[in-house]
């Protein structure tokens, strides 16, 4: 094998793709996908609490897409479907999982979303649980679809900062939002 072939082989096994989805998702997709990934990880004899964290993060990320994506369509009964993507890989070198979601958001939502993410990222990791509990107390009986706790929950479970990017699209009023969680 040539040096170049060896390098390509090394690079290709460096990152193991576990799951790759790009399409229309609904609540049923959330369950199916979270359980599919969970089963795959259990089969690979991954640590139980890590599997659980990954399951939970997948649910939060996908339900965020259903709730907040620019492509979200109300199917009736406040159930939604939306275009979105979910990509999960395992970095063999550092032995961590990358969970990466993507969806369109309205450009006017970008600033608010960025602000939420930056705020969550600014919290010291050992303070996350306290902030989570404080926010839950503050939102007592507020009654909204989500709870504004999703990002906090992702940081709490992954014990890592959230990485994200916004990319311009050929639709003037939309950008493509990508969220990366490392577990």
């Amino acid at each position: 094998m040539s040096d170049q072939e060896l390098l390509h082989l090394e690079l290709s096994i460096d990152n193991v793709v576990l799951f790759d989805f790009n399409g229309v998702m609904t609540q049923n997709s959330v369950v199916t996908i979270a359980k599919t990934v969970e089963n795959k990880l259990i089969k690979a004899v991954e640590d139980e609490s890590r599997v659980r964290s990954i399951f939970e993060i997948i649910v939060e990320m996908m339900q965020n897409i259903l709730s907040y994506s620019a492509d979200s369509i109300n199917l009736g009964n406040n159930m939604f479907e939306s275009r979105g993507s979910l990509f999960i890989s395992f970095q063999t070198r550092d032995k961590h999982y990358n969970i990466h979601s993507g969806n369109y958001v309205y450009k006017q939502k970008q600033e608010g979303l960025k602000k939420n993410l930056d705020e969550v990222n600014a919290i010291a990791l050992d303070e996350i649980k306290n902030v989570y509990k404080e926010r839950r107390r503050e939102r007592r009986r507020v009654h909204s679809r989500g709870a504004g706790l999703g990002f906090l929950d992702m940081v709490r479970k992954s014990k890592n900062r959230l990485e994200y990017s916004f990319k311009d699209t050929d639709e003037d009023d939309k950008v493509y939002f990508e969220l990366y969680v490392k577990v």
Partner: protein, 126 residues
């Protein structure tokens, strides 16, 4: 009061609320898409049941394996209603049941226990 019974689904728990038995029982996973909508009848039932102080003891059993962040908020609101009832003098026996291997659920129960002090939450390991 009418008995409320909701059969479990892949992402919502079995819910039984029985006034004649003074029993509230919630078991399973909770990650519905629209948590507020799903639990509306549960919260309404609870508010109606506890609206006046009661002389009997009501048992609340919760065995939640996994719940999403919006369910976490919902359960907080649920316990908030229980706390109001306890403050009015209503007696409660509240059991948070968790699997010994489920550290998340154990922790969640302990957290709720710290938040709500007008009644005791019994931590029951399975």
């Amino acid at each position: 009061m009418e008995r409320l019974f909701i059969e479990k689904t892949e992402y919502t728990p079995t819910i039984e609320m029985d006034g004649s038995k003074q029993l509230i029982d919630i078991r399973g996973d909770s990650f519905p898409e629209n948590t507020y909508d799903f639990y509306k009848p549960v919260i309404s039932w609870l508010e109606e049941y506890f609206k006046d102080a009661r002389n009997d003891v009501t048992t609340v059993n919760m065995e939640i394996n996994y719940f999403n962040s919006s369910s976490s908020q919902l359960f907080f609101d649920f316990f908030d209603i229980l706390e109001e009832a306890a403050n009015m003098g209503t007696k409660l026996e509240v059991n948070w049941i968790y699997n010994i291997k489920n550290e998340s659920s154990h922790e969640a129960g302990e957290d709720f226990s710290e938040e709500f002090t007008s009644f005791k939450i019994n931590m029951i390991e399975k």
